[in-house]
Subunit: 356 residues, 2 copies
């Protein structure tokens, strides 16, 4: 039985991505070769990389606006390091918003390089909201934020307008909602939510901000070197890039970000309405900051947990237990999750109400 996969990431992807990528492993484009055994310098793979880079920019509305898209390896955690290496001046400073575990990880890595100002933090409230009303020092080399906090189910709705490069870790909500993406100078995202399987990281860079830190940057961490090498400075993660391209093609065929946003809004509305209506449950995150991707919620009476857990498992739901730092439940409804799966969960929540 196909599961209703609520995993927080790696996570559900469109079925056609599974079908096409399995076929490509057996015989890629009728070449007599598997996608796993072709050279990254082959014409076929160069075409995949080029299309993936162009399509990422197209979907974000960033084509022809001075941006480059890279598909790197190492995960978003490596970007925690690459961002300050490329942007923080010697003796300079960076400004970070601390909205969750991953934001905090990015801050830790930045501190290694220089003064790292945490402009605001919701850590004291176990990150159940997005800090607001903070001031960013005007002499910072850049501002860094995390658009969506997978673990806590919060999401930034409005980004600050600043006279400095704005860097955003969009690992868990990229391609999920319409934003003016030109307000960012660097966007990075681990593939394993809305973009593909684990193993590659999309990095979007506005070229004009590079080359200004005055630092000598190790080659493998230097965005300019990766851009110059057309995202092939070293052997790229071939299969994860290919599967990401298939996912981006699926999104384009669906109508792009505007189309998927409507679907995501419908899923969110359905689940959050039930969380708010059902007297057995409560949301974990501040209402105004609720994520469109990860809905965190708790049982008012923990004694109902055993019954609820049996019920959702019986309904074919998987991946719904909350992260240990929040507890309760987390329903991750990434782009590829059909509303039918959300309805199954909502039905189980209603059933629980009738049962206890």
């Amino acid at each position: 039985m196909k599961k209703h996969n609520y995993s927080a990431g790696p996570c559900i992807l469109p079925q056609e991505v599974f079908d096409k990528s399995a076929q490509a492993i057996l015989d890629f484009n009728e070449s007599g070769l598997s996608i796993l055994e072709i050279s990254h310098r082959s014409k076929d793979f160069v075409a995949i990389m080029d299309e993936a880079r162009a399509l990422a920019l197209e979907l974000l509305g960033l084509e022809g606006k001075g941006y480059q898209a890279l598909f790197l390896a190492g995960g978003a955690s490596l970007e925690f390091l690459m961002v300050p290496y490329n942007l923080m001046k010697e003796g300079g400073k960076a400004a970070y918003l601390d909205s969750g575990t991953w934001a905090s990880g990015a801050i830790k890595e930045a501190k290694f390089f220089g003064e790292t100002v945490v402009v605001a933090s919701s850590k004291d409230q176990n990150y159940n909201n997005i800090p607001k009303g903070y001031t960013v020092p005007t002499d910072a080399d850049y501002f860094h934020c995390t658009s969506n906090n997978t673990i806590f189910g919060t999401q930034i709705k409005d980004f600050p307008s600043l006279d400095m490069p704005v860097v955003c870790d969009m690992s868990s909500d990229i391609f999920s909602r319409v934003l003016d993406f030109t307000q960012f100078d660097i966007i990075y995202a681990g593939a394993q939510k809305n973009m593909g399987p684990a193993g590659t990281t999309l990095v979007i860079v506005k070229e004009e901000i590079l080359g200004k830190s005055g630092r000598t940057i190790p080659s493998i961490l230097d965005y300019e070197k990766h851009i110059k090498a057309e995202s092939m400075y070293n052997t790229p993660p071939v299969f994860p890039v290919y599967a990401s391209l298939l996912t981006l093609q699926w999104l384009k065929n669906l109508g792009g970000i505007a189309a998927v946003e409507k679907l995501n809004n419908a899923k969110d509305a359905l689940l959050y309405a039930e969380i708010d209506r059902n007297p057995l449950f409560k949301g974990a995150a501040a209402v105004e900051d609720r994520s469109n991707m990860n809905a965190t919620f708790l049982l008012n009476n923990p004694e109902h947990a055993a019954t609820f857990d049996t019920m959702w498992k019986a309904a074919g739901i998987s991946g719904i237990p909350g992260h240990r730092s929040v507890g309760g439940y987390r329903a991750s409804m990434y782009n590829a999750m059909p509303i039918e799966s959300v309805q199954v969960l909502v039905d189980v929540m209603k059933e629980l109400e009738n049962k206890v």
Copy 2:
């Protein structure tokens, strides 16, 4: 038609790896989920990672000898950076053997950290041999070498005995021949030759050498942090690790490194004998340093190239043109390449001799 795939990497893998990994993408272990959508924290993937780490050590004969195996992301090029970060003391020095393009890349990255002594180089001979008879400064923090030079078709047969950590980049010949692997303190290898598809890097570390550099190491580059997190410091490249495990399982079932070495020796003997016998061809690398993985060879008369190229293409051979820095041809005969494919190439070489 299935090709005879001589690609230098990413490269041929066992057919059962393609079959099993395609199946796992459609339905992993009858779980109702694709391997591409399962959480890296799921019991199933933790088991994959644990088995892959243990099996790598077992195949190398390093179990219970103080080593840890990691499956990281970022490629061997990221290890060029991680090795000096973890091993080179502030104000210390490192010793490197320059035997090819990738060795040279590792040297470049090390220089970023401190004094980097190149103990010998064959660059002046276009790296057609492995430098020998060099002296390693006794006060170096470590010695780094590259066991096999994919581009040039050379391979180190004897490694120096030194009173310092020995680090070896084995990207293109790991698991291909029997060695006393305890002579190394760090072994790293991009997966995309004998171990799996592109997208993960095996790093074997002798734990006792870590924590001695006195440097503060960014978390993502710190081997100790990756070991502590059991190779899951951040989301690992799930599918590349899984396909690597399948490849290691294939190797174990075949009889391990000793068994595959015999097959590799037979393939090498067959092809190098023809290169040496056939008056139309000559080897590009010094005979005593010839690689067991990548045979580089040239036509004595470049005018025969068009005919030869037509002939090997017609025979279903792919990936055989040499790297631009050597020219001619490069037959990469990784573990999964059957001797029948080598016979096809040898037959075409003989045919050419009869034809011209």
